[in-house]
Symmetry: C2
Amino acid sequence: MTIARSKMPPNAKSVFKGKIFEVWQWEQKMFDGSIEIFERLRRTNSVIVITTVGDKILIQRELQPDREVPFLTMPGGCVDDGEDPLSAAKRELLEETGYESSDWTLLNEFRPYHKIDWTVYLFVARQGHKIQVPHLDAGEKITSRLVNFEEFLMLSEDESMRNKELMEILLRARLDPKKKEELRKLLF
Amino acid sequence: MTIARSKMPPNAKSVFKGKIFEVWQWEQKMFDGSIEIFERLRRTNSVIVITTVGDKILIQRELQPDREVPFLTMPGGCVDDGEDPLSAAKRELLEETGYESSDWTLLNEFRPYHKIDWTVYLFVARQGHKIQVPHLDAGEKITSRLVNFEEFLMLSEDESMRNKELMEILLRARLDPKKKEELRKLLF
């Protein structure tokens, strides 16, 4: 499931740079030869980590200061400037859960939204083990728990699930026994 | 499947207004009492239309001037300033396909991305009939075709499918016979 990259056109110019989002615009030649201003965003890439511990998978319930309702999510966060996605995934897992792993694989890359130049990297961290307490920042309240593979698949019925890319993977694994076994082998 | 609205906080200020996207920022009190600048986007809402014709469903292949590869989609587009979603759905269906219908229902509302204040309205337009040729704008190349209900569900295997919200509905209908029959009854 590879999604075509929509790179910024060579004549695109950054017109605004915010905290997370940068706005780019360019003159686009239309099918009839006329010109219109097109707009696309860029944002920092992000990582999601599926961590296995024995035959279990680590999931999180997270509260953020600008949201009233907690949501279900996997460890992860933003890739810092100059950081590679794997390093970001290791850093976020350690900060949010206190876990580390020596067996990492990149499962998939997603571009969630065609008007944003933004890639989400989905990693698996096998046989994680806890080496420290979580170091949460002031914008995070996170509790972790372990679920088995079947419970993990059924997170696709949880409406508070934040990771929409993972949702589709879980639904497809429930739909197709072959895909389910492939996912199980990738994780364990 | 209702998704909680993430309205803009009362102290948020618009810091940039582009062609499609508007950037808002506010001072957010963190869990430890410290203050950070938070950022969220607003964009025009959009509509998607599932149109039935007899026992068939109308789907489209679309090419845009800034994309090399055509993609699969349903009729739809942006809600204009001051326009209600149903009027936008009727207008977009007529412009893109030349079809109209006198039997409309709002199936669902989605908020695709938690950092964007943006609602997608999914409508069904039953027993559509063609009353004119499509009036495409200079940024659209669109061809329509009719598929049956089973083919419609299997669009969830098409990687060029643009409407990710619809993808999840199709997967869930394939997964659960009860949901499949509910969807069939909603459409026909």
